[in-house]
């Protein structure tokens, strides 16, 4: 008897928790929830993200809000500080969903935090649009309610392979040299590059792994000089970029195309201005991008507006831009679904196909954005980063007089 009562009580409790009194839409306001790092090691980037969310909410509300069923609703975000700890993030996500009744989530900052929170939103069937978790492993778990507007790490250098293919009359003849560190990030990047290489049927002539404490890659570069590949692709964080730039100069390596990650972080344009000329470097977003939408205008318009609202920024980090894009995705999804049912909204998100100031957005079955390429910038002779949107914009072959 007691057991039976216990079960009944438990079920009743579970039901009451799962369908809380407070709704996700209060009056004419739609509440989005986010656990975000406002203190701890991710605090700086957490703040960039929060400001991006807030700016988008403000712009959308001023433009008339979200129209569902012929009525206009305002957006609002409920934040909790996850203190940059994954366990706390998961707790807070549960609290947002169970106690506060939030049914639409915006992502936290970083891949690690997203990994901690995604299982929670998945469990409760709450759609989450995230803007700051790039790890490929987030999208191999079969999550149905997780969507990311940013490009995943395997796309960092894949665009470079597209460019190499476009610049050649027969992509099958293109010969590529690869030098990647063995850490998870670089291996992700490499996986994306390899997919593209196989797609085009290109030849990999060098495939060297770089050591973790990399201070000398001259043997790899010696082989590059002997085999004369059409493109050299390198990823090894800042140390890889610095070592490569240094030794490419010293060994007079003349490859028509060189693409590598972490150019900005390693400041190659300042430290090795001569060699860095012509390097292709990936980034998630640039304010000079020629994409726009009716809500935020062009990339430059978003940039100006955001700066006007947050005057402390001299140059706006892409983290804020992608956060704004995530909010925009929700607006579009609500209007497309014309409903507040979370599964209807989830399905609408999965069908979203839009051009935004941040780039195109369209989600794969796994939830990652497959429409936005990683943007490539090329360092020019004066050390400036120039956006390369198509192969034609690129200085090719690299023009360096050693």
């Amino acid at each position: 008897m007691f057991m039976k009562h216990g079960i009944v009580a438990g079920v009743a409790l579970a039901v009451s928790l799962a369908t809380p009194a407070m709704a996700k839409v209060e009056g004419d306001t739609i509440i989005l929830g986010s656990s975000i790092s406002l203190t701890g090691k991710y605090a700086t980037n957490g703040l960039h993200t929060q400001r991006g969310y807030d700016y988008a909410v403000k712009v959308i509300n001023e433009a008339g809000g979200v129209k569902v069923g012929g009525k206009s609703y305002k957006l609002d975000v409920k934040y909790y500080d996850d203190e940059s700890t994954p366990a706390r993030g998961a707790q807070l996500a549960e609290r947002l969903i169970q106690q506060d009744g939030v049914e639409y989530m915006l992502g936290p900052y970083s891949s690690g935090m997203t990994k901690a929170i995604a299982p929670v939103s998945e469990k409760f069937g709450v759609p989450m649009v995230e803007a700051e978790g790039a790890s490929r492993s987030l999208f191999t778990q079969g999550y149905k309610y997780l969507f990311a507007v940013l490009s995943t790490s395997e796309q960092y250098l894949a665009t470079a392979i597209d460019f190499a293919a476009e610049k050649s009359s027969n992509p099958g003849d293109v010969r590529i040299a690869l030098a990647f560190e063995g850490d998870p990030f670089s291996m992700d990047v490499r996986a994306g590059v390899m997919d593209k290489i196989n797609e085009y049927g290109m030849k990999v002539v060098i495939d060297d792994q770089l050591p973790a404490d990399l201070s000398d890659m001259s043997t790899t570069l010696t082989k590059v000089k002997a085999l004369k590949p059409d493109a050299l692709i390198i990823s090894g964080h800042s140390k890889g970029a610095a070592t490569a730039a240094r030794q490419i100069d010293e060994m007079k390596v003349n490859v028509p195309m060189i693409a590598l990650t972490h150019c900005e972080a390693a400041k190659v344009q300042e430290k090795f201005p001569k060699t860095a000329n012509g390097f292709l470097c990936p980034t998630q977003w640039v304010e000079t991008l020629s994409k726009s939408d009716p809500m935020f205008g062009s990339a430059a318009d978003w940039n100006t507006g955001f700066k006007a609202d947050n005057p402390t920024y001299t140059s706006v980090p892409y983290q804020s831009a992608q956060a704004s894009a995530a909010v925009y995705v929700f607006k579009e999804a609500f209007e497309a679904a014309n409903s507040f049912d979370k599964d209807a909204v989830r399905d609408a998100i999965s069908k979203v196909e839009m051009e935004t100031f941040y780039g195109d957005i369209k989600f794969s079955e796994n939830g990652n954005n497959i429409a936005k390429p990683m943007f490539m910038r090329q360092i020019d002779g004066s050390g400036q980063y120039k956006l390369v949107e198509k192969a034609g914009d690129m200085v090719f072959p690299r023009n360096v007089a050693y």
């Binding site: 030098a179 063995g182 002539v205 495939d207 060297d208 792994q209 770089l210 050591p211 404490d213 990399l214 201070s215 000398d216 890659m217 001259s218 043997t219 790899t220 010696t222 082989k223 000089k225 002997a226 085999l227 800042s238 140390k239 610095a242 070592t243 240094r246 100069d249 010293e250 060994m251 007079k252 003349n254 390693a266 430290k271 090795f272 050693y402």
Partner: protein, 301 residues
Amino acid sequence: MWDNLQLLFVWAPIINVQVILDGIFVGAVFALSAYGLALVWGVMNIKNLAQGDFVIMGGYMALALHQLHVPLVLILLIVMPLMFMFGWVIYVLMIRRIIDQDMFVSLLATFGLSLLLQQVMNLIFGPEVQTIDMELPVYDAFDNMVTVPSSKLITLGLAAVIATGVIIFMKRSRAGQAIRATAQDPRAARVLGIDIDRVYAFTFAFNAALCGAAGVLVSIIWVIQPFYGITYSVRSFAIVTAAGLGNLPAVIGAGFGIGLFEKYTGAILGTAYEVAAPVSILLLVLIWRQIQMRRNRQVVR
């Protein structure tokens, strides 16, 4: 691997020249820091795990001086005495207390010193990879297949000058003789009026100065980072194990040998295996020694 072998020996044998040259440049720098280790090991039986961090420390001193536009030769003349003093201070504060302890104390203490140095360098200079760009010309030959930066040539020359200086110093000077005497038999040396404590302090400081010099060269031809010391420690240990203690020509030979072995491993198996090469040599030497000594080993019943 097969492709790389073909490349080296069939398609473009000329790149062997590049690999050999790189091996020689690498070996020269390794030999410097390894000789310091051999000295300290042989004279006072301290196995200095902070050896590589001394090298990196010299590199950062050079970097700081270079930013003040000090010319290269002057950088060496400033860094070596500074590192000498630093070594002496470390001896007085730390090494003196662990000389008579067993091997594990010296390993633990110098490992602790290594961690401390890494973190201090990280605090002062930050974790970024840095390098000194001397902006010197690069020579090329064989249709640009072989390039030799003049910075590497200068480095090789400086290493040779320093090594010659050390050989003469150890053979001819009174201090050098005192060091060798102490290494052979500390008690006899003391009886004959040699101040052992001073000799130890001098040896350790001298080692630090040699590492500092190696560090200056490293910062000119490669890149430095606060946590890169360990690779130089490992290579020094491998060289000393292969060459034996207190034999400078053997250390130089082993330095070049390991440098070449490393570069060929890198060319054939890939750059990631370069650092593994000296460790595998270390292992082989130890196994070989073990087999050799088996003949002399006797069972005491």
